[in-house]
Symmetry: C2
Subunit: 364 residues, 2 copies
């Protein structure tokens, strides 16, 4: 079942999504017939993960265009559905630019809609190819940092084929190590509050036949202390120009633990995740999500009794602090692995050079 | 409703416990008529928390003695019901010693059982008094380390009146600060996997009228990074002779974060938690609990569908790493607050001196 696909039934084009909130218990598809439906799917995390959000945003523009809705309005709504992942707005912009360029060249709205779809499909395909290259660069880096193989990798949140047009970012590197017979174990942080590690990464690891073990996020400290972690591999939702990395909440504590235990902390993300417009970590807007994600437990199959759609686990009226992401400063990041190569040490200059190289590749 | 009490109905003596697995949704009492029932209540965490486990163990011996069961057998079963908290075996030993001493002095089993109950009640009372003194010493330390008040305290797991004959350990300090008008906010870690923070600490904080906010354990990093934490206050299940502190899993990552951010990391525990027989952190046995606590979510009111009694959140067959505790080395601990005073810096010598002083007080 594809995580996202474009279909053109007789009733008109649709974007079909695998509803990730129902995994691993059920594989259910969501059919979006317009941009607002897709915005809702993004907000509810039915579709999620930085690279996939970019692809979803681009298809959303293609959908609005093909169905004759206002493309500018759809672009504004889609790009702001979630604030932290820069890929979302990049994807929206790319498809919307293709649409406008086609109109500017004298095409009709049908031709412009077709151009938006071509741009979305190209982004989808590019992301799949980027996965393959990130996996290769990432494994080469692991082998260099940790000679002898038998890697024990700790990961946080979900970064595999569920977030990508291909096999993902950090997870794709672990998968490559697994296929090469050099993964000893994947340690999977459960990733509270929404349990993307338990629900999604464990699901992907099990399907791939990897040796994996699930743990509560707070048990990672014990693994580090016991010398059971050789490297941390995570994805990213936005990388500022200075190399600060916004990623799922809980990434920063792992970076501090990794530093304290002299373990490499590696970020794997496509170049589109680097946002030259965001100067540093302080400039990254971190999405604050509803408190009920913490005060209630949501689980597949569970009957809904709380106001937020879950089972209450805290006293009524409990206020919660629930940032969706945190920011890791560049000095705690050993390396950033992209499809265009590895940046290490992480500096503003090295990142700027990488982005310039990537633009050249894209243009040529 | 008392967390633990001794009752003597016509059918024979019983130990009555508040079933902490049902909080905060329901206040239900568990009536234990023999030591095996109490062992099961300890294992299932119906009764929990280091100081309270000591009291429960002592009452368990009094119960076995009063009902004419084999006291040595009850002592062995109770002391090993959970391995990490040293208070449990200390409490068992104290009541069993009183029982044996009475027999040795020529008393009959009835007199010996009465002696065991006197010892259990004395421990219960001493723990209540120790709470008061820990709270006083702890607040004085906070005021010294953080002049000006307005303390923003981060805590992990549950350390209030639910774990104690009195108002608890770390929580009692926060409560004292609250009553003195010097608590700005209590940050409550939810404490996965069993959510003692969300279920129990939030419940106690709400009842006390404190300003508190609940967070996922992995969101603490963001609070530190934002400068929102003035001090970390936790309890302890065992303190080794070298000052290594075993406490609920997730404590050690907070200690590393606190060090990285130059925030005091303070352990509050009665002197009985210090175990001179355990030389260092490596010698502390850390209880490994069943994986289903991680692969399934248990919540009050939730229907049971998983093999472990919860709602599955990970693919079937997922293996989990689930240590109940972790160990923080003494160099990451700013201070240990006990009823006999504060140890800071934490060294083997200072701890040994404290224990010697405490024994003198107990003997005199």
């Amino acid at each position: 079942m594809a995580v996202i696909r474009w279909e053109e039934p007789p009733e008109g084009p649709v974007v079909v999504l695998l509803d990730q909130t129902r995994l691993p218990t059920e594989e259910v598809e969501l059919v979006c017939t317009d941009a607002p439906a897709l915005v809702e799917a993004i907000r509810s995390l039915a579709v999620r993960g930085a690279p996939l959000l970019g692809i979803a945003g681009a298809y959303g523009i293609a959908l609005a265009a093909a169905r004759g809705f206002d493309v500018d309005e759809a672009a504004a709504a889609l790009a702001s559905a979630r604030p932290t992942a820069v890929n979302l707005s990049v994807g929206v912009r790319r498809a919307a630019s293709a649409y406008r360029a086609a109109l500017a060249k004298g095409g009709d709205t049908g031709a412009a809609a077709a151009a938006a779809l071509v741009a979305a499909r190209a982004l989808h395909q590019q992301d799949a190819e980027a996965s393959v290259r990130m996996a290769g660069h990432g494994l080469a880096l692991l082998d260099e940092l940790l000679p002898g193989g038998g890697h024990r990798i700790l990961t946080h949140c979900n970064t595999g084929s569920l977030v990508s047009g291909g096999e993902g970012t950090a997870f794709a590197v672990a998968l490559q190590a697994h296929r090469a017979g050099r993964l000893r174990r994947l340690w999977v942080d459960e990733t509270r509050p929404l349990l993307q590690g338990a629900r999604l990464t464990a699901y992907e690891a099990a399907r791939s036949g990897m040796a994996y073990t699930l743990l509560t996020d707070n048990a990672a400290g014990s693994l580090f202390a016991a010398g059971e972690v050789d490297a941390v591999l995570i994805g990213a939702d936005r990388i500022a120009a200075d190399g600060s990395v916004a990623n799922k909440v809980g990434s920063y504590p792992l970076a501090v633990l990794a530093r304290y235990h002299h373990v490499p902390f590696i970020v794997v993300a496509p170049v589109t995740t680097v946002d030259p417009e965001t100067p540093d970590g302080a400039a990254i807007e971190v999405e604050q999500r509803p408190g009920f994600e913490v005060t209630e437990v949501t689980a597949p199959q569970a009957p809904v009794t709380g106001a937020g759609g879950g089972i209450p686990v805290a006293p009524l009226g409990t206020q919660a602090y629930n940032p969706a992401f945190d920011v890791t400063p560049p000095d705690l990041v050993t390396a950033i692995v992209t499809e265009e190569g590895v940046v290490s040490p992480v500096t503003a200059e090295a990142l700027a050079e990488l982005c310039a190289r990537s633009r050249q590749v894209t243009i040529s």
